[in-house]
């Protein structure tokens, strides 16, 4: 899938959306949106009025046109939001072009079958160069897989049987080796299918909050319907003849068409924004829940710290010159391709040691890390250089171990680091004991900018909890450096689940990320469970979101998008309702001016004529939808700040602004349409 964000008014999306705006006029579709349905009925009524009423035709025709525009603009907004999703869905669909799979029969024979016929539990064999037909778990073999079709990431990933990297996704391509895959999804239910469905908005269901808002808007619509309908008898008493066209115009201006027209677009766009961040939400409900999260459970490794530790300091043992330690350290790490090993070489080089090249040392024998020795190193001639965890090296050294080194090891542990001890033994002397050279300080590197980010979360009332398998000391030190509020050390998967339950019992919503099979229960329990795409199928099934980039830090962005979605709804609802004040001031005096010229002072905007006033309000009401489409699709600007500050800010912009803005808008429209002699 393409990760590029479509520009807001990309013609490829706008053109079909224009067509869709008309298709959506189908009453069966419209009735799902009570506000716009009433608007459409109003448009139909005024259209009929063109032929029936005795009012100036030009006026009725224009009102009717703008009412139709209002409906079409709302449909357009929705179609735009859907269109952006569809563009992404199409990209996905291309990868689903007919694939042929080789299914393994019960007798071990292979049959070529269409991908669509694969059922859950079938086993297929996939060779290098082939596309994996459907979702499943690797049950035999290992392979490099190109998942760019799904993630947009071009670097191939390893998929192998067993462990946490066993899941493969339909539509991705095997680059090397052969794997056996057990299919985990029936046709139409694969990950790809769900993604397409989701981004297209085809299976979109209203989220709880959206339902509540729809009820509010529907109720307001009914109330304003009563207001406008009762004006007819009031008019009869007052001997004011209210025309049907004007009453419909008033009704449409009063009912919350702005938010009514943009509501579904906001929801679709919210999911779309997640997709652009390469996160797939399994439901809109999950996106909403993300906005409500109170506690973020963050795995230390990968989320808070860079995945690997780095050497940051060397501490020579007493009597050992620094230079010797540096030499020994870099020699023992030369062949160590782990990030830790490389970081030792780099640091030693920085400290001024001439770094040897492997090919300069033909006589060297490299000793790889084994589970038995738990050390790695190099034999250079008769000298054995070794580095390893304190306990292992102690065992290797045997008898004497310098007290100062022990002290240093303790200190590093307390600071949250990992001490590696370097020792060497001259094999030329049969009985010589190994000498301790010193300690390398390996440190977890906390990702930049996190502390700042967590601080902002704290301000918003979201607590961050770091989860780590490290011991208390280490965990506490890293937690402090990263700026998280709390940590769970020596955590086992079941501890994670217990923590989530505990928080939820306290009424808090919890979000977490996970990838392993043993994360699945916790992911399922969490209110927002984000599974890493690299993770197991079980994890992906358990969570309600999948991060295609497998970047645990993204949890933070997910929360922000959830909040942004809710804020956008609230802001536009407030704006919509606040708009009514100005519309009253435009329309009500206009309705009465003919019978009661004395009410002229109520025309505070000094609109030119009653008809121009009413038409201006209707035009404003329609145009504001178009103007707000970008806001609905992009979401209101998100700033992490306490609820009080956010409320003040948004009330000022959308509440007070919503009262004031239409006064200017309607006045300008009135000036334009009268100077152009539309009325």
């Amino acid at each position: 899938m393409s990760t590029k964000a479509h520009s807001l008014f990309d013609p490829a999306i706008v053109m079909p959306a224009l067509a869709d705006s008309f298709k959506k006029l189908n009453p069966v579709v419209m009735i799902k949106n009570p506000v716009m349905f009433v608007t459409m009925v109003g448009a139909i009524v005024t259209t009929a009025e063109i032929f029936i009423s005795k009012e100036p035709k030009a006026f009725t025709i224009q009102i009717s046109i703008w009412l139709w525009f209002t409906v079409l603009f709302a449909n357009f907004a929705e179609a735009m939001a859907e269109g952006r999703g569809k563009a992404q869905a199409n990209a996905l669909r291309q990868s689903r072009s007919k694939t042929v799979a080789r299914r393994l029969g019960s007798n071990g024979s292979l049959h070529e079958v269409e991908a669509e016929t694969l059922r859950q539990g079938d086993v297929i064999v996939v060779d290098a160069g082939e596309i994996i037909a459907s979702d499943g778990d690797v049950i035999e073999g290992a392979a490099t897989v190109d998942e760019s079709a799904i993630t947009g990431e071009s670097a191939p990933v390893i998929r192998e049987a067993g462990g946490d990297r066993s899941s493969v996704t339909g539509g991705t391509r095997v680059l090397s080796d052969q794997i056996k895959v057990r299919i985990s999804a029936d046709p139409g239910h694969s990950f790809l299918d769900r993604m397409i469905g989701l981004v297209e908005g085809a299976k979109r269901q209203k989220t709880p909050n959206e339902i509540a808002l729809t009820i509010l808007l529907a109720a307001l619509t009914v109330i304003f319907l009563i207001v406008c309908v009762t004006l007819l008898p009031y008019g009869i008493y007052s001997q004011v003849a209210f025309s049907i066209t004007v009453l419909v115009a008033l009704l449409v201006c009063l009912i919350p068409t702005t938010i009514g027209g943009l509501l579904s677009a906001i929801g679709i766009a919210g999911i779309d924004r997640l997709v652009q961040k390469n996160v797939l939400a399994m439901s809109g409900r999950a996106v909403e829940a993300a906005g409500d999260v109170d506690v973020l459970l963050l795995d230390k490794t990968g989320t808070i710290t860079l995945g690997n530790r780095q050497a940051v300091e060397f501490f020579p043992a007493p009597g050992v010159p620094m230079k010797d330690l540096l030499d020994a350290a870099q020699l023992s790490s030369l062949a160590d391709e782990t990030p830790e090993g490389r970081s030792i070489v780099v640091l030693a080089k920085d400290k001024g040691v001439r770094v040897q090249q492997l090919h300069d040392l033909p006589e060297a024998t490299f000793i790889a890390f084994t589970a038995q020795t738990r050390m790695s190193g190099v034999d250079l001639g008769s000298v054995q250089y070794r580095k390893g965890a304190a306990q292992s090296v102690k065992a290797y050294v045997g008898g004497t171990f310098p007290k100062e080194v022990d002290f240093r090891i303790d200190e590093i542990s307390k600071a949250g680091g990992t001490p590696l001890v370097v020792a060497a033994r001259d094999g030329a002397h049969q009985d010589s004991a190994p000498t301790v050279y010193g300690v390398i300080y390996l440190k977890d590197i906390v990702k930049g900018g996190l502390a700042d980010r967590f601080e902002r979360f704290r301000a918003m009332g979201i607590r961050t909890v770091m989860i780590t398998g490290d011991n208390q000391l280490t965990a506490a030190a890293i937690a402090k450096e990263a700026g998280v509020d709390d940590f769970l050390a020596e955590a086992k998967p079941e501890d994670k689940l217990a923590l989530i339950r505990k928080e939820q019992q306290g009424g808090r919503l919890v979000a977490m990320t996970g990838d392993g099979t043993n994360d699945a229960p916790a992911l399922a329990q969490a209110d927002v469970g984000v599974a890493m795409n690299t993770g197991t199928q079980a994890a992906k099934e358990a969570g309600n979101m999948v991060d295609l980039d497998s970047n645990p830090t993204k949890l933070i962005e997910i929360v922000e998008i959830g909040k942004q979605l809710l804020m956008t709804r609230g802001a536009l609802t407030t704006f919509s309702i606040a708009n009514d004040v100005a519309k009253y001031f435009a329309i009500i005096p206009a309705m009465l001016m003919v019978t009661f010229p004395a009410v002229a002072p109520l025309n505070v905007m000094h609109l030119v004529s009653p008809n121009s006033a009413i038409l201006s309000a209707v035009i404003f009401n329609a145009l504001v939808i178009i103007f707000l489409i970008p806001l609905a699709l992009r979401g209101v600007q998100f700033r992490p700040m306490p609820a009080m500050a956010l409320l003040q800010r948004n009330l000022l912009i959308y509440g007070v602004g919503g009262v004031i803005a239409p006064f200017f808008g309607i006045k300008i429209i009135d000036l334009v349409i009268t100077s152009l002699h539309f009325i």
Binding site: I226, P233, Y234, G235, A459, I577, D580, Y584, A598, V599
Partner: protein, 600 residues
């Protein structure tokens, strides 16, 4: 008139309201707790326990919202029947020194509905219709009952907000009995004696006949033997001279009834002129205390709310929103009443006096405008001046206050629960703007609460606008009008607003004691009371059952100035805008026509 003294009186009044809010609120906490302690326990405790024993009520056994609501509905229906029956049988019952006949069916229905719903709309004139027994038992009983029911409902809703993961919201019978025994009765006894000290009557003797110093000759319609008016050939009423040499001075147990009518925000006058009557509101001092008694319990309930939900700040924010809406509306009313009627100024009336039509000298423009604002902010409906004769915009204020839903302090209990509906709507709309599912004090506001809240607003709008629409195009509707033109429309709009809001004040020129008006107004009252309470109780039950989300910096702030501002905005935008077109056709148009000198 002295504007400076006006400002001092306003500050004094608001200061006194503020002063009693906390102590009375704290007292309410005890009263509305089945195990609460008050200093009246030694006296009233035994009576309270005896009452429970006789009724077979376990005071500590709580009810679900449905159980609570059913108890309340059955009690209200039962007492409404009692009132109706007593009025219908008035002619046969004792304590009727003037020998008033039984009350007609439509009027008895209207009056029973009126007093049961705390409306106290009066289609009758008290001193010429109701016996002492009717006043004291049929009507005053409902003054106590309907007030206690309102307070009970508010308490149940507050419990629903304060509790979490709970299935019950209190016991209706306990709330009813405790409210009457510990809150209403003790205050009323003191209050009533104070009122007597100011000149209010309290006796059981018959009306007195005072021999007039100056006999008066008046023109009255000539009546035939059957009592019907005689018309001449042109259809005009034939008038005859009649010498009036005595003034019949009404008597009766007034003070005891007026005390509860004010304290319980009932508002049904002992006399037709209500609190404008010199007996019913003898002095400016009695006027001040009566005003205070209207706001006392509603204001204290905001403190009760804050206390119960453990956020005094929230209680005070709601109080502040009410206070601001009160002062704002009052200033408009005062301004326009003080400005007077330009049509009369034209005729030579001193414009410095303001509009005195329908006002008493002892109260003047200021205290009349203040009373009108207070009585309609709350659902009291007692009047010390005739709203019908206010200037158009001065009279718009009481109408506007009622149409807001009487949430500015409001009726006892009803004001708070009405305001809490707006709080829920405000929290829902603006709560989204902080990027979370809206939460009110840790409770998520979801579709059920929104549905019920909007139902309340919908019922309010439909009841007022629908009935007014019907009346305004019906012959029976227009037949009752005392004024023509926009003011006549205002009279109808005011009537249905008043009954829907259970206020009871009127643009009293409207002759409502007709079959159609009595019946539609009574239905309007019952809808406005019970169709509002039921959804509110549903909200109480739903909120009580919800889990509590702990408060934090991300929680929606429901205390402080921003929330107060938000609440005011919501009340005005969601509550008032619906009525703007109707208000425009009535008072606003009339205002402009008045300034152009148009007469109807």
């Amino acid at each position: 008139m002295n504007a400076a003294l006006g400002w001092i009186q306003l500050a004094l009044f608001l200061g006194l309201v503020l002063l009693i809010t906390k102590p009375l609120g704290l007292y309410l906490v005890q009263v509305l707790d089945s195990r609460g302690r008050t200093w009246l326990d030694p006296l009233l405790g035994p009576i309270e326990r005896l009452t429970y024993r006789l009724c077979g009520v376990d005071p500590h056994r709580e009810q679900s919202w449905k159980g609570y609501t059913v108890s309340m509905l059955i009690f209200s229906l039962f007492t409404m029947l009692v009132t109706y029956t007593l009025l219908r049988l008035q002619g046969m019952l004792p304590l009727n020194p003037q020998g008033f006949s039984s009350v007609a069916d439509h009027l008895a229905f209207n009056t029973a509905a009126s007093f049961t719903t705390n409306t106290n709309w009066q289609s009758y004139s008290g001193e010429s219709t109701m016996s002492y027994l009717s006043q004291m038992v049929a009507l005053a009983s409902q003054n106590f009952f309907s007030a206690a029911v309102g307070i009970a409902i508010a308490a149940a809703l507050v419990r629903g907000i304060a509790r979490h993961s709970a299935q019950t919201i209190g016991n209706f019978w306990t709330d009813l009995v405790r409210t009457i025994y510990y809150l209403l009765l003790p205050i009323c006894v003191v209050f009533a004696v104070f009122l007597i000290s100011q000149g209010m009557i309290q006796n059981f003797k018959g009306y007195d006949a005072a021999a007039l110093t100056e006999k008066e000759t008046v023109q009255v319609p000539k009546t035939d033997a059957s009592g019907a008016q005689v018309k001449d050939a042109k259809g005009n009423t034939v008038m005859v001279s009649q010498v009036v040499d005595t003034q019949t001075i009404p008597e009766g147990p007034m003070a005891s009834q007026v005390a509860i009518k004010m304290l319980g925000t009932n508002g049904g006058g002992f006399t037709n002129a209500n609190a404008a009557h010199p007996f019913e509101n003898p002095t400016p001092f009695s006027n001040l205390i009566q005003l205070l008694s209207i706001f006392a319990i509603p204001s204290a309930l905001t403190y009760y709310l804050g206390r119960m939900v453990k956020s005094s700040g929230h209680g005070w924010s709601v109080w502040a929103a009410m206070a601001i809406l009160f002062v704002g509306a009052f200033l408009v009313c005062w301004h326009y009443e003080a400005a007077g009627n330009p049509i009369l100024t034209q005729l030579g009336v001193d414009p410095a006096d303001g509009n005195m039509e329908g006002k008493e000298v002892r109260f003047g423009v200021f205290n009349s405008a203040l009373f009108a604002t207070v009585t309609t902010d709350a659902s009291c409906g007692a009047v010390n001046s005739m709203h019908d004769s206010f200037t158009p915009l001065g009279g718009l204020i009481p109408l506007f206050n009622i149409e807001l839903g009487e949430v500015v302090f409001g009726g006892v209990g009803a004001g708070l629960y009405g305001m809490l509906v707006f709080v829920i709507v405000a929290v829902f709309i603006a709560g989204l703007m902080v990027g979370r599912t809206p939460e009110y004090l840790g409770k998520k506001i979801q579709s059920f609460e929104v549905k019920m809240s909007m139902l309340v607003l919908l019922v309010l709008a439909m009841d007022i606008l629908g009935f007014t629409a019907w009346a305004s195009v019906s012959d029976w509707g227009k037949a009752g009008l005392n004024n023509n033109g926009p003011h006549g429309f205002s009279e109808m709009l005011y009537a249905y607003s008043s009954v829907t809001g259970n206020n009871g004040s009127a643009f009293a020129g409207l002759t409502a004691s007709t079959y159609w008006y009595d019946t539609t107004l009574a239905i309007g009252m019952l809808i406005g009371r019970f169709l509002m309470i039921i959804p509110i109780m549903a909200i109480a039950g739903s909120l009580a059952a919800k889990k509590l989300v702990p408060a934090g910096p991300g929680s929606f702030p429901v205390s402080g100035g921003t929330f107060t501002f938000l609440l005011i905005g919501t009340v005005l935008l969601v509550g008032a805008l619906n009525f703007l077109p109707a208000l425009t056709l009535g008072p606003v148009v009339e205002h402009f026509l008045m300034w152009s000198g148009k007469l109807f």
